[in-house]
Amino acid sequence: MNDRALVLAMGKGRMVEETLRLWEQLGYDMEPVREALRDRKMIAEAGPFRVLLAKDADVPIYVEQGAADLGITGRDVLRETGADVLVPLLLGTLIPSSRCRLALISPRATRDRNWRLAHNLTIATKYPNVTQEYVDQQGLGAQVIGLSGNVELAPACGMADLIVDIVQSGTTLRENDLVELDTILACEATLIVNRASQKLRPLAIRGLVERLEETERHQVGHKGSEKDGYTV
C-alpha cells in the first residue's frame, strides 16, 4: 500500500512558478507539471509525485479530504478553509513571494474614524471566515460580505466601509487610495500534510520535510528565520 506516488496538491495561482522552482531545486523534474499547465490539464505525473493542479483556495480541502497526501498553500487560505491538516513546515524563506499579510483596510478619507463605535459597518472580503473571526474578536459591529475578487471596488462604490484583503507591497492600496488599519494575519506559504498520510507514509513525508528544511538552512545560512509570532 505504500509504493504508490505521493499525491501533491498545488495551486495554479500566484505562487505556482516559485513553487515549481523550489521542487526543481530539490532535484525533481517539474517539466510534466509545466506541460500540464500549458495544456490546461489538471493532473501531472512528475517524478515521485502525482501533482493535482487545483484552485489556490481549494488546496487545503484536497489535502484534508485525503485526495492529496500533501500540498502547498498560503496560510491565509489554510485559515480561511479551517482545514484539519498537519503543518510541518512554513515556507516563507523558500518561497519569499508568498510572504504577505491579511489586513483590515480603509479608504484614506475615513482612516481616523473610530470603528469600534460604529454599529452597522460593512466589511467586504475574499476571506469571510477569517474576517468574521476577527470581527468577533475585536467586538466590531460589522456585517461581513464575501466577494470573490477585486475587493477594492466595494468601498469605491460605497457597498462596504472597510475591506479585509492580502497586502504585499501596498501598491494596489495606494492606487486605490486605501490605507491599512490593522494586520490580521502574517502570511506565507506552508507545507500541509493529510493526517492519515502522515501515519501511512511517514518515511516518504519525513524525507521530504527534511530535504526542505535542509534547503532552507542553506538559503538562510545559520541565522534561521525570525520568530513569526504565531502558531500554526
Partner: protein, 398 residues
C-alpha cells in the same frame, strides 16, 4: 418567512440518505461485526438517542458543547443528541451495572450526532460500531480491545491497515513536570499535533521549558515505529508516571505479539489529540483509501467515576461509512444482489402458496406485478442477472 418548497426538498447540511447498495453494505457490515462481537463475549446495549445535556457534558471540555445538538423538552430540560456512545455506556454501567461481576463487555452499533459547520465537509450523523471493556485496567484488557479492533477490520474485509498505538500518560506526565499555564500548554500541544518542529522549538523557548521535559516534547514527532520506540521513550521519560506509561505499553505490545497482530501496530507516542476523557493507551486505525482515521479508541479510567462508580474502562469504535469508503476504494461501488428468482404474476392459490413456501425455505423471490408474459419476464431476468424465472404453474400445464 415561510419555507420555500425547494427548502422542503433539501436535507440539512451534514446528513444524507443511505439507500440501495451502500445501505445494504452498511447493514451487512453491522451484522458481521455484531456476530464477531458476540463471539468475543460482548453483549449489545441500546442506549437512548438523547439524554440530558449536562450528563453528556460531564465527559467533555466546555469547548465541545459547540458540537452537541441541543434541544429543550416540553418541561424545559436541556437535552442532547448523543455525540458519542462511550459516555452513555459509561453512564449505564456506573448507574446500573456497577455491582455486577467485572469485567462488563458491552457493544453497540448505532449513529452518533455531532454538529459541524456546513463548509467543513464533515458528516453530522456518524454510524459507529463500538465496544467497551469495563472493570479491568490490565494490559490484557488493552490488548484484547486492540486485537478485537484488528479482527473487526479483517471481518469487514480490509486487508491492509495500520493501528497507531500510544499512551496519553506519557505526554501528560511530561507536561506535569513543567510549570506551563493552560494557554501555553494548548499552544505547545498544537505545535506537537501539527508536527511543526520549528514552531514547537520556538514555543518551548518562549515558555522556558527545558531539561528532560523539553527533550521528550521535542522527540515526540519522531517517537513512532516498532518496539525500539519504547526503549527510546523509557530513556527519555522524565518521571515515574511517564516511565510507568511506557512500561504498560510494553506489556500491551508483548501481548499483541502473542496474539500475532503486532505487525499491524505502529507504536506512536506523538499523537496528543484525542477525546478529553482518555487516560491511558490510545489508538487510531488508518487504511489507504481514507484520508481520515477509520477507527479509534482508548482507555478512560476516570470517566465512570464522574457518574459515581470509579471503574477503569477501555473502548474502541469504528466509523462504518469510512470503512465503506475504503471498501469502495478497493473494490468499487457495491451492487445490490439480485433475487434468486422472479415469479410470474397470477392469482392461483397453488402458485401463491408455493411462493410463500419458497420464501420460508430461505429463497429470495421477487413477484412480478406487471402481469408480464414469460418471454418478457425472461428478458427482464436476464437483464437484471436474476438466475431463474418461476412461471405460473397453470400456464406451464396448459
Amino acid at each position: 418567512m415561510t419555507s420555500s418548497p425547494r427548502r422542503l426538498r433539501q436535507l440539512p447540511s451534514g446528513v444524507h440518505d443511505l439507500f440501495g447498495a451502500p445501505a445494504q453494505q452498511l447493514i451487512d457490515l453491522s451484522t458481521r461485526l455484531r456476530a464477531l462481537l458476540a463471539r468475543w463475549a460482548y453483549h449489545e446495549v441500546l442506549p437512548p438517542t438523547f439524554e440530558y445535556f449536562d450528563t453528556v457534558m460531564l465527559a467533555f471540555d466546555a469547548d465541545f458543547a459547540a458540537e452537541v445538538y441541543r434541544f429543550v423538552d416540553p418541561d424545559g430540560h436541556l437535552l442532547a443528541l448523543r455525540p458519542d456512545l462511550t459516555v452513555p455506556v459509561a453512564r449505564l454501567v456506573a448507574t446500573k451495572l456497577y455491582d455486577q461481576p467485572m469485567p462488563q463487555r458491552l457493544s453497540y452499533v448505532a449513529p452518533v450526532f455531532r454538529f459541524s459547520e456546513p463548509n467543513s465537509h464533515r458528516s453530522c450523523q456518524v454510524w459507529q460500531a463500538g465496544w467497551e471493556l469495563i472493570g479491568v485496567a490490565s494490559p490484557a484488557a488493552d490488548a484484547e480491545v486492540v486485537t478485537l479492533l484488528v479482527a473487526a477490520l479483517e471481518e469487514a474485509g480490509l486487508q491492509e491497515f495500520q493501528v497507531n498505538l500510544g499512551h496519553m500518560g506519557f505526554v501528560r506526565a511530561t507536561l506535569a513536570d513543567t510549570t506551563l499555564n493552560e494557554d501555553a500548554r494548548t499552544e505547545l500541544l498544537r505545535a506537537v499535533d501539527r508536527k511543526n518542529r520549528k514552531i514547537l522549538a520556538q514555543t518551548l523557548d518562549e515558555s522556558g521549558v527545558a531539561g528532560p521535559a523539553r527533550a521528550v516534547l521535542e522527540a515526540l514527532p519522531d517517537l513512532w515505529g516498532g518496539e525500539e520506540v519504547l526503549e527510546k521513550a523509557l530513556r527519555l521519560a522524565p518521571n515515574l508516571p511517564a516511565r510507568e506509561a511506557i512500561e504498560h505499553l510494553q506489556q500491551v505490545y508483548q501481548l499483541l505479539q502473542s496474539y500475532g497482530i503486532a505487525e499491524r501496530v505502529t507504536l506512536d507516542l506523538g499523537e496528543v489529540r484525542g477525546m478529553d476523557y482518555y487516560t491511558g493507551v490510545i489508538f487510531e486505525l488508518f487504511a489507504g483509501g481514507s484520508g481520515f482515521s477509520i477507527a479509534s479508541g482508548g482507555r478512560y479510567d476516570t470517566l465512570l467515576g464522574r457518574f459515581g462508580a470509579g471503574l477503569p474502562a477501555i473502548g474502541a469504535m469504528i466509523e462504518l461509512e469510512r470503512v465503506q469508503a475504503v471498501l469502495h476504494h478497493l473494490h468499487g461501488l457495491p451492487t445490490l444482489a439480485p433475487p434468486d428468482a422472479l415469479q410470474q404474476q397470477c392469482d392461483h392459490a397453488a402458485c401463491l402458496q408455493a411462493l410463500l413456501e419458497r420464501r420460508r425455505a430461505g429463497e429470495h423471490i421477487e413477484l412480478d406485478l406487471h402481469q408480464r408474459p414469460l418471454p418478457a419476464l425472461r428478458a427482464e431476468a436476464e437483464q437484471r442477472h436474476i438466475p431463474r424465472v418461476i412461471p405460473c404453474q397453470q400456464e406451464r400445464a396448459s
